[in-house]
């Protein structure tokens, strides 16, 4: 589904990503973790072309992301993305947030879009909030709406960029629950997250990054029980033992 081959990116002489290579099969849930500044977010933003990269190749569903002839908008409409700060459109009601891209990008009718929107709001438990505005919802609710908004496009895979990092602790679980459910239904997912509980529950594989390199890329069992690199061991010790 997603294949990365020796992806590198630099700002001037600073290497943000160096030779990142990995594959994501259909239905896999990949958790990407690592210390801040290690390039995790940049890596998944490269997948849908929000971040350009200088060398290497990323193929999503048979389409090369880096190829200048690729219709990036079309590619992006098939890849759902959820951001750290939700990024709902504040001037639109919740149901319009879910509908706008369906009508303007996929060409669905207003009614189809609303119907789909209501169905997805039901699924994330927010049907009653449909006519409210993003600013009137809690962070956890906004993030669930953001997930529903991405799903409204019927994506072939989903990218999550630290979806719970900006949330109050008590709201983290409502978002993780939605993500877990999604994973169990077989959605292909790449999640940058520090929620190791989530990784242990649903991840197929864990990618650990440090200084722009993929240091570990292994099954979750192997990663949590005997991470090979010292850097990953330190990381795990810090985030698991408190």
């Amino acid at each position: 589904m997603i294949s990365m081959n020796k992806v590198s990116k630099q700002y001037g002489s600073f290497h943000v990503l160096t030779d990142c290579t990995t594959q994501v099969q259909k239905g896999e849930v990949i958790v990407v973790c690592g210390p801040s500044g290690s390039g995790k977010s940049t890596l998944i933003k490269c997948v849908n072309g929000l971040e350009p990269f200088q060398s290497g190749e990323i193929i999503v569903n048979g389409v090369s992301v880096g190829d200048p002839r690729t219709n990036l908008s079309k590619l992006r409409s098939t890849v759902g993305m959820v951001f750290q700060n939700f990024e709902l459109f504040p001037h639109m009601s919740i149901i319009d947030n879910l509908g706008i891209a369906q009508t303007k990008v996929l060409g669905r009718s207003q009614e189809q879009a609303r119907e789909k929107g209501f169905k997805l709001l039901d699924r994330v438990g927010l049907r009653e909030q449909a006519e409210k505005y993003p600013g009137q919802l809690s962070g956890g609710q906004q993030q669930r709406v953001a997930i529903a908004r991405a799903l409204a496009m019927d994506p072939i895979c989903m990218l999550f960029d630290e979806p719970t990092s900006a949330l109050d602790p008590e709201m983290v679980n409502e978002v993780l629950d939605v993500m877990t459910e999604l994973a169990q239904e077989g959605m292909t997912m790449m999640c940058v997250t520090h929620e190791m509980g989530f990784a242990k529950r649903v991840a197929s594989r864990v990618i650990f990054m440090d200084q722009g390199r993929i240091v570990e890329d292994d099954s979750k069992e192997a990663f949590f029980e005997h991470a090979r690199s010292e850097r990953a061991q330190q990381f795990l010790a810090k985030i698991l033992h408190h």
Binding site: G80, E87, H91
Partner: protein, 246 residues
């Protein structure tokens, strides 16, 4: 003070004959100021929006052009720009066009030159507001739009501009008020707008106090209406749950 107040002066027939009164002159100037400022404002909004957006696009030729535009129109005094548009530009136009311009009704010539001058001067300022509005949006909004599959123009149209425009309503109000005040400069090329009529009234009646008090009140009246209008707009586009919203 030995000044003879005479508010009745406005109802007197003008010294130039005919059945017009001085109040009629004032009213003519009032209408001219409004017509000039409103037409210039509409152009300024349209041009300013486009230039402001161009300043933020990731294409260095387009954003470079927009930057140059803003700097040119913002950094030349309004009065100098007006003289350029009225005296210089018609000479630089292709002869046919220039002559056609010079043969039209002189009032129309003054009006057109004033309108273009005010519009472009103000458009540079509007462009700066639009740019700052766009730049003050959270950077993730653009990515969110693109990630949904919107093209860059669609992202501007559906995601960034609707919020940016809401954010800049208050500073745009100042620009809207400014254009009415700046229109007084156009009296220097002979356009008989409100300020010019005020001065003309002094020349004909020797009643400067009444005349300029009337002019002052007329400008205040216009700006009070603009202010309330813009406040209404501001309330109307308010986003629930957002800064300043309910």
């Amino acid at each position: 003070m030995a000044y003879n107040w005479n508010w009745g002066v406005f109802l007197q027939p003008t010294a130039t004959g005919g059945d017009e009164t001085y109040l009629g002159w004032m009213f003519y100037g009032f209408k001219m100021t409004i017509a000039l400022s409103l037409s210039a404002w509409l152009i300024a909004l349209a041009v300013g929006a486009v230039v402001g957006v161009l300043r933020t696009v990731p294409n260095k030729w387009l954003s470079g052009f927009a930057t140059a535009y803003v700097e040119v129109f913002r950094n030349i005094p309004l009065l100098v720009q007006l003289f350029l548009w009225y005296f210089v530009i018609p000479e630089l136009l292709p002869e046919k066009v220039g002559n056609a311009f010079k043969q039209t009704n002189p009032i129309l010539q003054q009006f057109l030159a004033s309108m273009v001058c005010l519009a472009l001067f103000t458009s540079a300022r509007v462009a700066e507001q639009v740019r700052s509005g766009i730049n003050s949006l959270p950077p993730g909004q653009k990515n969110a739009g693109l990630a949904m599959g919107f093209t860059l123009p669609q992202t501007y149209r559906y995601v960034m501009l609707p919020m940016a425009v809401r954010l800049i309503v208050p500073p745009l109000t100042s620009e809207f008020l400014n254009i009415f005040k700046n229109s007084a400069v156009c009296s220097t090329i002979g356009l008989l707008e409100l300020a010019a009529q005020g001065r003309q009234l002094v020349d004909y009646t020797a009643q400067p106090y009444e005349s300029f008090i009337a002019v002052t009140i007329a400008y205040l009246l216009i700006n009070v209406v603009v202010m309330f209008g813009m406040r209404w707009v501001e309330g109307h586009v308010r986003v629930p749950g957002y800064i300043g919203g309910k």
